[in-house]
Symmetry: C2
Subunit: 319 residues, 2 copies
């Protein structure tokens, strides 16, 4: 029986979900991969009584210096120290899995270069569209095609707010407040509502699809904070809905892109994505259009993508 | 530079599409995989002037006995001799890629066992839902989850006929004749319209999702041949559409399944799949629902899935 030892950095929403999946589905995962996946260390302060105390450490060197740890799973969020932690892990020959779109988008070149230089895998499926297997499809079975366009609704928080505004006739401020009261939206939603979170994800998508890394801050971007009840009502009168759309495409060989609220027709496939759902359409020369639709957020949902990346390392025998 | 030599069995619709993709996107594929993929032999009679004559052979031993051929790509269709050809190739240590749902469904156990025994890869993404990366998602990033249900429209021919009946008010016979005249439907559509093609695909999906192989002939199945104009009109009056639905799910630990025409509401996500489009919803304990929507048929579309499987072997260094 092979064994794969994992360290999780940050046992928050996504890290905690990942931990829970690896415990709950332990037998299933062992059966599918032929490999026992063990969480050996957790970077962070202990705040869950169901997780053994000896797993926790506040000293990252305990993880870096442990030769038995094969995979570092980064779910801290934010650019630093996440990026440095990932680079350090790679230098020690450890595979890296992350859910952190901001760090992946900001550190794209150095993270990929470092992984290549050290012969380790760098996987980040959970950084885009939660539990939807979008990036592994692009890197995997779709990769015989030349990609032409990507267009989607890739931020759950704003989609939840916009769905509430459309359905209940609320103002942006009211819908935001309701969503925060329900815990669906973070207390500081600025990265979501400004479109920055979508820009980070679009940056990652375009880097993979078109081989061009456009820093997220250079992607033309409009958030949803200026949308009014009247905007929503006007869209409704025209049989349309307003969605925060991320869009990247090749036009005469040039890569164009934006993140902005758009009125889309009810017959647009993206229009089916309401509340916390995401939808993404990838267009290529050979496979034509492929749409992915599913859950874009949540501890188990996003954790399932992190765990999926860990499994794919296990399936390659930890190599 | 690594090199991967491929033999294509049958240069028909799918085999021809695969060949074209490997030629057209040759540079892109080499860049993405770090590997040159070469079609070295083709099993069949030459019927395309743009394909070099020396590639063709009618003697399968020429392929089996060629130690330079790494991958056998089976696109002949039909259960035999395809199944035997694939088993023979595996015994010689060659990876096998196929688009052949009938042969995969019928030979599930022996094909997988033989691949395992010989340490070769057996990939069949193109056998289900054409260019949509459904199987590799199930085998890949979704695999940390326990699967609960699969439901979809997975046959393009019947979906085209039903869409035409619904849109143009035609009878089944009229819609079928029109589709055949346009070349969209094969001259002998019996496997499609009887639901057998969907049953083959559902068999493969359930084998992967639930680890249980139900032979396609044991899947309860109703085709579309008895549907009338009146059935379609009644569905329309109820804001519904009739689709040929393939469905497999766990109920109290027991696996249930069927293929049959169903009336589904216009707000059912599957209802968006019209004409040759396919849609498939996979539900699991952790990632929740994931829907895939795209092109279910066509030479380049299905060829892109075959080529995608070949690329994934190249990405693993041909190992």
């Amino acid at each position: 029986m092979n064994k794969l030892n994992v360290a999780i950095l940050g046992l928050g929403v996504v890290g905690g979900g990942t931990y829970d999946i690896l415990q709950t589905n332990r037998d299933l995962i062992t059966e599918r991969t032929g490999c026992e996946i063990e969480v050996k260390r957790i970077f962070g302060r202990r705040h869950r009584e169901d997780v053994p105390e000896e797993l926790f450490t506040l000293n990252y060197d305990d993880i870096l210096n442990d030769p038995e740890i094969d995979v570092v799973c980064e779910t801290l969020g934010g650019i630093e120290p996440s990026r440095s932690f990932m680079l350090e892990a790679m230098k020690r020959g450890k595979h890296v899995v992350t859910a952190n779109k901001a760090a992946v988008a900001a550190g794209w070149d150095e993270l990929n270069d470092q992984a290549k230089a050290n012969g380790v895998r760098f996987l980040y499926e959970a950084s885009v569209c939660g539990g939807m297997p979008v990036l592994s499809a692009i890197r995997g079975n779709l990769s015989a095609s030349r990609f032409l366009e990507v267009r989607g609704i890739i931020n759950s928080t704003t989609n939840y707010i916009l769905s509430k505004m459309a359905r209940e006739g609320k103002s942006y401020e009211e819908a935001l407040k309701d969503a925060q009261a329900m815990g669906t939206v973070e207390r500081d939603p600025s990265s979501d509502v400004s479109g920055m979170d979508s820009a980070n994800k679009l940056c990652i998508l375009m880097s993979l699809l078109f081989g061009t890394h456009i820093p997220p801050e250079d992607i033309p971007r409009t958030g949803i904070t200026e949308l009014t009840k009247e905007d929503m009502a006007e869209a409704e009168r025209n049989q349309q809905v307003i969605k925060l759309v991320a869009h990247g495409w090749l036009e005469d060989g040039e890569l164009k892109c934006y993140v902005r609220p758009e009125r889309i027709g009810r017959d647009d496939p993206l229009a089916m994505a309401n509340d916390e759902k995401n939808a993404l359409i990838v267009t290529s020369d050979m496979s034509g259009i492929n749409m992915f639709y599913g859950n874009g957020a949540g501890p188990l949902v996003t954790g399932s993508a992190v765990a999926g990346d860990i499994l794919s390392i296990a399936l390659m025998g930890g190599k």
